[in-house]
Symmetry: D2
Subunit: 151 residues, 4 copies
DNA sequence: TTTT
DNA sequence: TTTT
């Protein structure tokens, strides 16, 4: 019906870029969003919120965003679930971004020089794949439907 | 920094009302939010989003909301984690509501007659408690800090 | 960049439906949104917010919404200006809706029976037209560009 | 009921800071927010949205924000009206900010050195005052209720 | 009356 | 584990 999210925070790492079987780009990153109020111990806590971006925006994020950069994300909350390799149902909540604004900051910060996109695939098997693909690592399209999220 | 969510959906069950050790009310429920677009199979999918409400609003939700009722929720995304009883770190994402609007609908729908609040505690131990309390079931305050979420 | 609005309120009147020169539907209505806090006199004030909807959604609003009905509106704030017939620049702020949800309530309330759309054109000339059209009244398309708002 | 706005844009000028009769600070500025899509002439249009901030946040805005700076604003839409000095009712729409985030950019940009707050009062009488105060110019509190907006 |  |  109505499902709207707006976040402002910093990337905890460079985005990861992948491609679905039929060539759709999808980028993922985590946004660290500080809470506005401190807790009872007087500490400022942070929510680490997983973000998913599709298509052209995914590629732009991979090119222009990096660890430590500030970004504003507008999108919707998505809750999906899958069966893990122990046969247990796992629930994943993430924000599907429809609009990402690149703000300043971050390391190496010659504001928005282009980065070399980081393709994910790092030896550690991605166990929450709906369809595990051993070739995911070498930048070949992964064998899942466009509906699924490849991470 | 900035973390804003607005949702419109229906409760999948009656809210559960609890009290922290020092008497703060907390209600929880799941909001079923239909997606605006259908998937590739032409089906309309639904996101089931866990909601947490505190204090006075919690008690109002327990009184006036029920299974099937429509509600608008405004709040923020919170990601917390705890170690479960198998020693594994579990991540929980939920929306902490700051404003809940009661809309029509639902069963027995003599619009907003008061309901008998449903206290949770149903025999099945609540395993994601930070601090398990055997008395949670009989409506006595539960023994955890106000910071923690009792579910 | 980022311009997001979510409102929940009631229509002060039936929506007005018009068509631009090239046949695009546009509906307008005012949403009465109560403030959450009362003022210093203990009264609850209300903001009356002008809403604009385009295309298919405009026609659905004209059919299914009416005076007193509750609606949730998601969109963006738009500030436009035009020169009035006294040669003075007038500023208009309105919410351009991208998503309107029909909620219950309202008069005659046999929930969402279809209404006869109300075409605007009531004898009183609409002086904030960019391009005044004497035929606007008899439901013929109005002679303005799609960019402009016909009211 | 529910009235939520999130904006990201740049200040068109330094904020103006004033004080109500009983000492409450209020800052005002205009946020230039680019539209995401270009119009039929291929130009990117901009909405100029008036912002009001109260109390402590007002003083922080006056100190840390300036012309050209980027800011994220979270708040609610307010529509008020008053009778102008020609006896005509004038409607004013503005965003009452509850949370302002200072982002980079702007002139002189030694990021967030403190600025000398700009008090409004520039010789031109502020004609949309509900209660005109000839002393508003010399930084003395203005003689209106806290409920009213002094600009 | 507008910002980059 | 889900609502209409």
């Amino acid at each position: 019906m109505l499902n709207r999210v707006v976040l402002l925070g910093r990337l905890t790492k460079d985005p990861e870029l992948r491609y679905t079987q039929n060539g759709t780009a999808v980028a993922t990153f985590t946004l660290a969003v500080d809470r506005r109020v401190t807790n009872q111990q007087g500490e400022r806590e942070t929510d680490f919120i997983p973000i998913v971006v599709w298509s052209k925006q995914a590629e732009l994020c991979a090119q222009y965003l990096g660890k430590g950069r500030q970004a504003a994300v507008e999108g919707r909350i998505q809750v999906r679930n899958y069966e893990n390799n122990e046969g247990r149902r796992v629930y994943v909540t993430e924000v599907v971004a429809e609009n990402v604004q690149f703000l300043g900051g971050g390391e190496g910060s010659g504001d928005f020089e282009q980065r070399t996109p980081v393709f994910s695939g790092d030896g550690k098997p991605s166990r929450n794949f709906q369809n595990d693909n051993p070739f995911a690592d070498d930048q070949r399209p992964i064998d899942i439907s466009d509906d699924d999220l490849p991470f």
